[in-house]
């Protein structure tokens, strides 16, 4: 079996090189948001690229400050989502990772993670003067039949839109294949996390974050499935660590992509982040009792950020029980307004469960909102509190 590291390395390079090649070959390219139903688009021959994922690559390459400056919008860096700022910056910055993303032929976004995606992509569409399609996923909708009906009708319009701009038809068998693989890959991805239910945990969460890339950009591919299969195999065979069972922490919310280990440096053998629930957002729930467009409507309308507060909080409470979590660090990510609503209700629930928690205010991709000194102080205080409690 090929090692996961080898597969991931190939996928990373191939993804960006094939994107550049697609432009040369005249294949239609779409920029899409993280939870756009990529299965439909792949079944219509579109090459799909993710500006958010690329923003992560740029932030991790320490390019945030320079790219935000190049965006021409740095005066609004307190207001705009840092992923969007990086995407605007990529239009003008020269030293981009992988020489940047090729220009798209169209933009397709979904609002099932936040309202910002629609605003960002509209601005991008205006600047690039290219067609835009937005899929509307009303948040926390409790009337499933009418919701699924509304969304599948939008998918029909989407298919017409893509056909209108590419001439390509929807290939239903590829669609069903993609959905089936996405479903299996999402299950696998969830299982990868579950190795850390064991005590002591097998692997630190920031290493699992390194494995996020394939499910974000290549969910319906055999390669992504093979990768997580190999990864799960490796993790399962990993010997239990000799270290003393560390205090088990959950990092709630976005990582900080500009930090080498994605979380502040202060973790060691005594305290370990065993789970970052953000990575589980990609474990979508494709229903067993429906297929095709209906299954996609159900899965994509039920993304984590699109759920009610009550469901989100209970989900985190379940994770705390399942993963034997001792403490929670909540990242208050200024770029993601929708996720800000979670923090107080979650902390209230954690208090009821007698789980200590702390908040850290920063940003996912813009290091100018991160103060190392302040964060260290807060985490040290939290560690002291945990030591007294446990």
């Amino acid at each position: 079996m090929e090692s996961s590291r080898s597969i991931r390395g190939k996928m990373f390079t191939e993804h960006y090189h094939s994107a550049a090649q697609a432009r040369q070959d005249g294949k239609p390219i779409a920029y899409i948001t993280a939870f756009t139903p990529v299965e439909i688009l792949k079944a219509m021959g579109l090459v799909c690229l993710y500006p958010e994922s690329y923003a992560v690559v740029c932030a991790a390459s320490n390019k945030s400050a320079d790219m935000i400056q190049a965006s021409g919008m740095e005066a609004f860096s307190q207001d705009l989502c840092s992923y969007s700022l990086l995407s605007f910056g990529a239009e003008h910055y020269e030293k981009l990772p992988f020489q940047g993303l090729p220009q798209p032929d169209m933009l397709i976004a979904a609002n099932n993670q936040c309202g910002t995606t629609m605003l960002w992509f509209r601005l991008l569409a205006q600047k690039k003067n290219i067609p835009l399609f937005i899929i509307d996923y009303p948040a926390a909708a409790d009337d499933q039949p009418s919701l699924v009906n509304y969304i599948t009708q939008q998918y029909e319009v989407l298919v017409d839109f893509v056909k209108g701009h590419t001439g390509n038809d929807l290939n239903t068998s590829i669609l069903n294949e993609q959905i089936e693989r996405s479903k299996k890959t999402c299950h696998l991805w969830k299982s990868v996390h579950e190795v850390n239910k064991a005590r002591p945990a097998r692997i630190e969460a920031h290493k699992i974050i390194d494995a996020l890339f394939p499910i974000v950009v290549a969910k319906g591919t055999q390669q992504a499935y093979d990768y997580y299969d190999a990864l799960l195999n490796e993790y399962s065979q990993m010997a239990e660590q000799d270290t003393v069972d560390a205090v088990r922490l959950l990092w709630h919310g976005y990582p900080m992509w500009f930090l080498p280990n994605k979380f502040p440096l202060c973790f060691d053998d005594e305290f370990q982040v065993v789970l970052n629930d953000y990575t589980l957002w990609w474990s979508l729930n494709y229903p067993d009792d429906s297929s095709g467009m209906e299954a996609l409507a159900a899965a994509y309308s039920d993304t984590y950020l699109n759920r009610s507060i009550q469901r989100k909080v209970e989900e985190v409470a379940d994770l705390i029980a399942d993963y034997s979590i001792d403490g929670v660090i909540c990242h208050v990510n200024r770029s993601c307004r929708r996720s800000l609503a979670d923090i107080n209700p979650l902390r209230k629930r954690l208090h009821q469960l007698s789980i200590p928690s702390v908040t850290i205010e920063s940003d996912m991709a813009n290091p100018s909102f991160y103060s190392d000194e302040q964060v260290r102080l807060r985490i040290e205080s939290f560690r002291d509190a945990l030591r007294r409690v446990l």
Partner: protein
């Protein structure tokens, strides 16, 4: 408000222009737009993390201080993430009245209209249960007519598209529209009818004494700011604000399925930063409006951290630069009535700059 509570089944606090007021009224509640300033304890405003918009933070502080406890229920749209945060925090951190979220689509095509019609009907059922008052289609149509009358009268206040000099200054027009969101509808229509009749019979009044300005933005309920703009040498000849021209575009059709007609009207009443209107149509509409109006400048009055309107400003700025129309953006904090020194300087400098033209 005490009067209103005694005359009706209670008060429905609501946000945004996407909540159909006539349905609320038909169910026996008085629809009250939650705007303005309330007595609050200052520490509550910190409860919502920045960068949630200052309007949402201020209203949360008001709710936490008990200043909005007189409402029987609150109806939220799903227009933007700041309102979503407000709604979710209100429910989880405070003891709220019943809160309903009206899911409105971001587009206005036929599937969206059908879906929104279902949601409006669902809201109607919830409100009927809440008030204990049912209503027929005929009764709903009656309420729709009252609200249509408001829209028709308000359109007469605005010179656009005729461009005749308005008989009221801009800040007064916006104040009148804002009053519609608060007052008893019949009383309002009567007073507004008188104002319109008097104004129209007086004929055209040359009111444009200063630089001709259009204001754009979300809810601009700080009327003192608008008056300050006028005192500093500008005439607000037009607006594109939530409590201005965006409130009364289009009437609701009375023929056919009323819920679908309501959905159509509310979704198709014109471009708005929270809707995904076709970008080319949006641009064409905006260019046309600016060309016809020919303002000396445009002042965007945005709430601090309001995402949709900031993006709208960035989009429109590109167009205005091409059209060589000067623009100024003010970022205001909702809990402050007094115009800050910085904003005074900005407005004054802007008007001075236009004056040299």
């Amino acid at each position: 408000m005490r009067d209103m509570r005694s005359k009706t089944r209670g008060i429905s606090g609501c946000f945004s222009n996407y909540i159909p007021e006539e349905v609320i009224a038909a169910a026996g509640f008085h629809p009250l737009r939650i705007i303005g300033r309330y007595e609050t304890s200052s520490h509550h405003s910190q409860s919502l993390y920045a960068p949630v918009c200052s309007f949402a933070r201020d209203i949360f502080a008001a709710a936490a201080s008990g200043a909005i406890s007189f409402v029987s229920n609150v109806i939220f749209p799903n227009s933007c993430d700041s309102l979503k945060v407000l709604q979710q925090m209100w429910e989880s951190d405070l003891t709220p009245p019943p809160i309903h979220v009206l899911l409105h689509p971001i587009q206005a095509d036929d599937p969206s209209v059908r879906y929104f019609a279902q949601q409006i009907e669902k809201l109607a059922d919830i409100l009927k249960n809440g008030s204990g008052l049912s209503f027929t289609d005929l009764q709903l149509a009656d309420h729709i007519q009252r609200y249509n009358q408001t829209r028709q009268l308000l359109r007469k206040l605005y010179p656009f598209p005729d461009n005749k000099p308005p008989f009221l200054k801009g800040s007064d027009r916006i104040a009148l529209v804002t009053a519609a969101m608060i007052m008893d509808r019949d009383e309002y229509n009567q007073i507004l009818g008188q104002i319109v009749a008097e104004g129209l019979s007086a004929g055209s009044v040359e009111r444009e004494t200063g630089k001709r300005i259009m204001v754009m933005g979300p809810l601009v309920d700080n009327l003192q700011l608008l008056e300050t703009i006028e005192q500093l040498g500008a005439s607000i000849v037009a607006d594109d604000v939530t409590n201005g021209s965006r409130y009364f575009n289009l009437d609701v059709d009375l023929d056919g399925n009323l819920y679908e007609n309501l959905a159509k009207r509310y979704l198709r009443s014109g471009p708005s930063p929270t809707m995904n209107t076709d970008i080319c149509d949006d641009e064409r509409f905006f260019r046309g409006r600016v060309t016809d109006l020919n303002p000396d400048g445009i002042i965007f009055i945005n709430q601090k951290f309001c995402e949709p309107h900031l993006h709208n400003y960035l989009a429109k700025l590109e167009i205005l630069k091409e059209m060589k129309v000067n623009a100024l953006m003010l970022e205001v904090e909702h809990n402050r009535t007094a115009v800050s020194e910085r904003d005074l300087l900005r407005i004054e400098s802007f008007v001075e700059m236009l004056g040299e033209g």
